[in-house]
Amino acid sequence: MRLEHEFTVPVPVEQAWHVLLDVERVAPCMPGATIESVDGDTFAGKVKVRVGPVTVAYSGTASFLEKDAATRRVVVQAKGRETRGAGTAAATVTAVLLQVDDGTQVNVETDLAITGRPAQFGRGVMDEVGAKLLGQFADCLADRLGAGEAAPAAGETPAGGEMAGEPVAAGQPETAAGPEAAGPAAGTTGPASTGTRPAEPRPTPDTINLVQVAGGSIARRVVPVVAVIAGAIIVWAVVRGLRG
């Protein structure tokens, strides 16, 4: 199943690009996720989403498959298995940033595959939930960008082509030393390398009105937008299928 979403954040594309690659910064905008470990470009964590009586929880990993500064394109792959069942969720998310008049347009294409019990009981209405979650994510991100400090590397525009099309293998630290290295390189962002910035505060789950996020005991809430969306979509779909 493919989902497409689009939103705009009111910051220049360069700034958005850096933030998008910065898991520490982006992660707190993701409802329901907790990160457990970081290994280079791969993050292991859990996503737990509740909608009404339904709970779907996954544990799994997300990794950057590709970060292309020239085309402002990021590909993230997330895979998870239900913590209480045999089902899986796998998503490949491609995000592309475009400079527009009032900021940066973010186009997100999600290729989502859900298996197991959640998938067996009817679908439907996924676009809507996905759009809502992504909408919340965008709002949160926009807030942060608007309120937070300017991206350190905003002034250094990389020359097109230098980084073009260079894929980053999953699980390997990014080794390219392009202009981006001047800022906090996203590829090396991990718990150990975040000293240059204060940690972001935890968001309050209560502010999320669609999905009531289960409180996690781990301080940092992180990772894949996709998995969260997938989780919520599954829940939505499942409940719609189950009105016995």
Binding site: G52, P53, V54, G215, L242, G244
Partner: protein
């Protein structure tokens, strides 16, 4: 299938229910939506708080110009209740379409509303009638109007430590007609789309219309644009048809294996028109 393990608490009063509730608990009334989810292990609450025997939450009573229905009153009790049939028969009409007799003997009025499935029949009715929900929590009780109750898909104003106690609905006087147009693929299935209309007609015009739509979005919705267009309109099929064109204004109907968004929108138009025409006695 087999549910995961859970604890079971039978509450004898609203206070007992509230004190047993927590983030990981769920209220059990008739269990007609919750138990299937648990059997499929899509829901695994640690505690079930059974309110089906809480006296205060059962039965229908009059309070001035309103009827108050205890949240744990079964559908079957509601649809046979003399007060309901006398003062607000649309409730009986809609309730009679809920699933099948077996479900109606277990499932409850409040359970259906608190589950807030947009495909449920009763949430849209509660919305159309401007019901008021009484919710009890540790800090006491509060009243929430239907317009603020249905927050999102399966999400209501009821917090995890709260319980829906009762629903208050207006009595409808003589001049009101009603019709529920439920469209489903088989008799026991959930509505693909539904339209419940309550219409006040006088002297060849429509005084007021309240329309609730089932299963055209993530919550039950009011067809506000149609209501506005109908207010004071001629009570003719043509005028109603014109007004019903606005049924899905501002909505984003959903797609599933039984109906595409386009088809749902089409049904919303047709069913709204039919419901209003019938409710207005045309």
């Amino acid at each position: 299938m087999i549910p995961a393990q859970f604890e079971y608490v039978r509450a004898g009063s609203v206070d007992e229910a509230v004190s047993a509730l927590s983030e990981d608990a769920k209220v059990l009334a008739g269990g007609q939506s919750l138990i299937p989810l648990m059997r499929l292990r899509l829901a695994y609450p640690e505690v079930l708080v059974d309110v089906s025997r809480v006296e205060e939450m059962r039965g229908v009573r009059e309070e001035g110009d309103r009827l108050v229905i205890g949240a744990a009153t079964t559908h079957d009790e509601v649809l046979r209740d003399p007060l309901v049939r006398t003062h607000c028969p649309v409730i009986a009409e809609v309730t009679a379409t809920v699933a099948d007799p077996a479900v109606r003997h277990r499932g409850t009025f409040g359970g259906s509303i608190a589950h807030a499935d947009p495909a449920g029949d009763l949430p849209a009715l509660a919305l159309a009638l401007d019901a008021t929900m009484t919710i009890a929590g540790r800090g006491g009780r509060r009243e929430v109007p239907a317009a603020e109750f249905f927050v999102d898909y399966l999400q209501t104003a009821v917090a995890p430590e709260e319980v829906l106690v009762s629903v208050s609905l207006p009595k409808l006087s003589e001049g009101w007609g009603h019709r529920y147009e439920k469209f489903n693929r088989s008799a026991q299935a959930w509505a693909m789309v539904g339209a419940v209309a309550v219409v006040q007609r006088s002297n060849g015009t429509i005084g007021s219309a309240r329309i609730g739509l089932v299963n055209v979005g993530s919550t039950p919705v009011r067809a506000a644009a149609v209501e506005a267009a109908l207010a004071g309109a001629d009570a003719t099929p043509e005028a109603v048809a014109a007004a019903a064109e606005a049924a899905t204004e501002g909505l984003n109907p959903t797609t599933d294996i039984h109906a595409s968004a386009d088809y749902r929108a089409h049904l919303a138009h047709v069913l709204t028109r039919r419901a209003v025409v019938a409710a207005a006695g045309m």
